[in-house]
């Protein structure tokens, strides 16, 4: 019914509205007669907005074509990130909302026993459901601090979330379809379209090595925080590979390729989501041979309370809190400093609710005299690796800046 109406409308627009439109915008649409059938001029298209994407207005829009939206760090205070505050990193254009009955997932590739297609009810009814709280962090989180500047969305520290994802284990599906012994990588294919509009190009088609695909926490998720997956986060089904750069967790899935080599889809090539193997001088170029795919994200922590810029009367204690995570690792310890890293004090640190979830920390700070302070936090992972205090190794695309988070505080 909707379709029919749309057709009528379009025909009507085509036949009669151009002159009205032209008078409204104060100019002719040149080549209006060459508009493809069914094409609507951009000013007639429904405008996507933060609101239509289900996001709070206080989020920061870095880019609206494609959508890239950052969460201001103090809005990440919830222990479980609500969908309305979750960052968005898109490479292509959002697909239209597909009808569940029209949707299928195809398992394909050189190393699949035989190509097989699953409907949503196959997925929901045939396999056991699991829920995990998983950190999704953009590989470029923190990019804005690199110098010389690197190309891409200039993220602050808020391209991260930890929410409850529900779905089936990817390994259960792989077991059902059957994979050959030479399988090494799983590549994903989504319904989003390339920015250029070229239907033969995929906006992004990355994936994960088989060892990651077989982890218990690696999900094909259909629910976020106990609700249907929002369109902005991959409706109807997405991969969730916590601890890896979030670009590995493909959205709007239509197919998975079981590969006998490292997947070679869009944005798998150098320098995308890769860093130099041997360290390089900032600003210099790197040979493709000297680049490796980012797998585990590094150790990191953020102060989510208070918001930077807090003024309070001298004598009052300050409670701080936040989250820490470490890619594939767990966090062993979180420390804070109020003297620019000269001395460090321990924070209280909670255990993760499950592997690959972020851990909450808190501390109560007493300040010795009035004045300007910076509170710095530093997390240390189980292997003893800690966050650097300055911006770490420069790399051509500005990934993995896990320099310790800082907030300003004034005691008056």
């Amino acid at each position: 019914m909707k379709k029919g109406k749309g057709k009528q409308r379009r025909a009507f627009i085509k036949n009669s509205a151009y002159s009205i439109l032209a008078s409204l915008v104060g100019m002719e649409i040149v080549f209006a007669n060459k508009m493809p059938v069914g094409y609507e001029p951009i000013i007639f298209q429904e405008k996507e907005s933060l609101k239509s994407l289900g996001k709070e207005a206080s989020l920061t829009v870095l880019n609206d074509k494609p959508w890239n939206v950052e969460t201001p760090v103090h809005l990440l205070d919830d222990q479980v990130t609500p969908a309305s505050k979750m960052f968005i990193r898109n490479n292509g254009l959002l697909p239209d909302r597909i009808k569940l009955e029209d949707w299928t997932l195809t398992l394909q590739g050189e190393s699949v026993k035989s190509t097989k297609t699953y409907s949503m009810s196959d997925i929901k009814d045939k396999f056991r459901h699991y829920s995990y709280h998983l950190v999704l962090e953009c590989g470029g989180n923190g990019r804005g601090e690199f110098y010389p500047p690197t190309e891409g969305n200039q993220w602050g520290v808020g391209a991260v979330s930890c929410a409850k994802w529900t779905g089936i284990r990817l390994k259960d599906l792989l077991q059902d379809v059957g994979i050959n012994n030479d399988a090494v990588y799983i590549g994903y294919h989504g319904l989003d379209s390339h920015l250029s509009g070229d239907p033969n190009k995929e906006a992004i088609s990355r994936g994960i090595p088989l060892w990651k695909a077989l982890q218990e926490e690696t999900l094909l998720a259909f629910a976020l925080n106990d609700e249907e997956l929002p369109l902005a986060h991959g409706f109807p089904l997405r991969l969730v590979a916590g601890g890896f750069p979030a670009s590995a967790s493909g959205k709007w899935l239509k197919a998975l390729s079981v590969r006998n080599k490292v997947h070679d889809g869009s944005k798998m090539e150098s320098p995308s989501y890769r860093i130099p193997i041997s360290p390089i001088e900032p600003g210099s170029s790197v040979d493709e041979d000297n680049m490796r795919i980012i797998e585990s994200m590094p150790v990191r922590s953020i102060i989510t309370y208070p918001k930077s810029g807090a003024q309070l009367p001298f004598g009052r204690k300050l409670n701080i809190r936040g989250h820490a995570w470490a890619g594939e690792e767990a966090v062993k310890q979180v420390e804070y400093s109020i003297d620019f890293g000269s001395t460090w004090q321990l924070c209280n640190l909670e255990k993760p609710i499950n592997r690959l979830a972020w851990q909450h920390f808190s501390a109560t700070i007493e300040f010795p005299i009035k004045g300007y302070y910076e509170v710095w936090v530093k997390a240390i992972d189980m292997k003893g690796v800690s966050q650097p205090m300055v911006v770490p190794a420069w790399n051509p695309k500005g990934y993995l800046n896990n320099a310790c988070h800082r907030i300003a505080v004034k005691l008056t």
């Binding site: 379009r10 627009i13 009205i20 609507e40 190309e151 200039q154 918001k307 004034k410």
Partner: protein, 151 residues
């Protein structure tokens, strides 16, 4: 002092009339949209896709209103060539030298389907390198703070 006041009043009046004009336009638009509501994207069956973006060339305080680009030589070429696939925000949040912007253009040509810019490339790169040039900020910048009283 009085001149300044007069100027303020004039500016306010100009602002108000612009607002009024916008309101009238909004009213006309909403009436038209009631009769022809926007329908979803439907490009699937189109053989050739030509885009018809109608951008105004209004400049305010040295910025192109619709895109946020700085006004300067090459602006029109930048709008025409750099906002078809992605929004202007992807450009304006980045900072590069001439060489850096050229590299970005090459990457888009090699992987993202950007066309050959011909003679326009020099003008475009010069514009970008002039208005969107890197500023040295060392290994860590001072915090930028908006103070507030903590309850």
């Amino acid at each position: 002092m009085k001149d300044a006041d007069l100027k303020k009043i004039l500016v306010a009046l100009a602002g108000l009339s612009t607002l009024l004009l916008l309101l009238v336009m909004a009213a006309i638009f909403s009436v038209v949209f009631l009769y022809f509501p926007p329908v979803g994207r439907s490009l699937e069956n189109s053989e050739s896709i030509e885009k018809f973006e109608i951008l105004s060339d209004e400049i305010q305080n040295g910025f192109h209103v619709e895109t946020g680009f700085v006004e300067g030589e090459g602006l029109q070429l930048v709008i025409a060539n750099c906002t078809n696939c992605h929004s202007a925000k992807l450009v304006t949040q980045n900072r590069f030298t001439k060489e850096g912007w050229t590299n970005v253009i090459r990457w888009m040509q090699e992987t993202q389907g950007l066309w050959d810019l011909g003679n326009n490339e020099e003008v475009i790169v010069a514009y970008l390198a002039k208005y969107y040039a890197p500023e040295a900020r060392g290994r860590r910048k001072a915090l930028q703070v908006e103070w507030y009283d903590l309850e």
